[in-house]
Symmetry: C2
Subunit: 255 residues, 2 copies
């Protein structure tokens, strides 16, 4: 049985405000939990009690203890109260939110800047894709969906623990600071140069706008370069995660 | 008020078997309905009764009548019984499933072959992306998620009405026929040549495997070429829709 307090705490982490107040979030599934143990800060690992004697999970338990995380076994009744997916895979972790600020930016790598991305799946896919292409910094505008939302965490497939995520509180100021610091700002929209001509700078920001409104006028004004992914069919647009992924692919290929 | 029979019919179209038996499916939202009217076969358009006098919807009503589709106005009570999204935008259409077979393949265009894609969002995004890059044929293996599932239809953003979708009943036989017909089969997996070296043939099939199992051994055996999207970070893989979109981008760019 899980302690009532822990159960209540985990349940409340479904709310963004509560996650912010406590600096905790949840990751579900073996892959995510292993990545959290490797690259994140884990307060506790919760394993389904029916798996207590499973050798497979014994390994995970050892890894958790090595990293100083508490290990709890939970009854099905408890799991049903706290799981974030219909098909709970048997394990979840209570993680500490990293408090990154601009000093934490990995200066050896580019930045993916995301403005007002609202769909959790899109944000998660973009984080996963940036990780694939070796772009190690994600800066989120003030009004992006919370990256510690369970759907976002799930769709990053563990990448959320490996990249530097920085949440901006004043978007224009953030971009000004980065530009002063030598970053070149490229935006992706419908009227730019062919993305295949992008020439990666030493410090490069690739910026994407929201699903419904695209790049904001304020962001557009600050841009040094504009790029477009040329289409040949009849679709009106690409999905924003897809557009971002293709641009990241091309940016890293041209390096 | 909607007739009870129509209401019942639409409600049942949430089930795949019923969709198959009747050859009908639903698209929700103005953009999707307009694309259905332009490129698909629409049996009926259902508009929220509160929008009956909205000039905006009058246009849609005219378009529907021109295309020979019935127009119905539905009360909120009825809408609540049949809507497929929480936030119903005011309009849906009852569409007829096209019965494409191999003779319908657009021979001027390549083929995207999808094996056992199970996530509706991934399938929808792939259809939308193929449409963007001008790949006009999608062949689905027997065990793909149903493309007329409401989530798939929604995430294609209207592209489902513009492309040729062909559902295979015998995957190996389908691919054999296409190869005999002169198609070159390229698969995307983790151990192929760099995708940037892909050289589009006159008749080209790009094949993607399932989210959890990748390309099947049977499909691998039939492949003429294998390609990979090189990564530089630590992510284990790309999302399948992302990988497919990047490969389509590169395929069309090299043409």
């Amino acid at each position: 049985m899980l302690e009532k307090n822990l159960l209540k705490h985990i349940g409340k982490l479904a709310q963004k405000k509560y996650r912010r107040d406590f600096g905790h979030f949840i990751v579900e599934g073996e892959k995510g939990v292993m990545e959290a143990l490797r690259h994140g800060q884990v307060a506790a690992v919760i394993i389904s009690a029916i798996l207590q004697d499973d050798e497979h999970y014994a390994e995970l338990t050892r890894a958790a203890k090595q990293r100083g995380a508490e290990v709890h076994f939970a009854s099905n009744l408890d799991i049903n109260k706290i799981k974030t997916t219909e098909t709970f895979s048997g394990v979840m972790a209570l993680c500490e939110m990293p408090e990154n600020d601009f000093d934490d930016i990995d200066q050896q790598s580019h930045i993916l800047y995301l403005e007002n991305i609202s769909d959790p799946g899109n944000l998660g896919t973009l984080i996963r894709t940036a990780d694939w292409f070796g772009v190690r910094n994600i800066v989120l505008s003030r009004n992006c969906v919370d990256p510690y939302n369970d759907k976002v965490v799930r769709s990053t497939m563990g990448s959320i623990f490996r990249l530097k995520l920085i949440q901006s509180s004043d978007d224009a100021h953030t971009l000004e600071l980065l530009k002063k610091d030598g970053y070149v700002l490229s935006i992706l929209d419908m009227n730019g140069d062919d993305i295949s001509t992008i020439s990666p700078q030493k410090r490069h920001i690739l910026a994407l706008g929201s699903e419904s409104h695209g790049i904001s006028p304020d962001l557009e004004k600050m841009a040094d370069q504009r790029y477009t992914i040329p289409g040949q069919g009849s679709a009106e647009s690409l999905n924003v995660a897809m557009a971002g992924g293709i641009a990241l692919y091309q940016l890293m290929k041209n390096a």
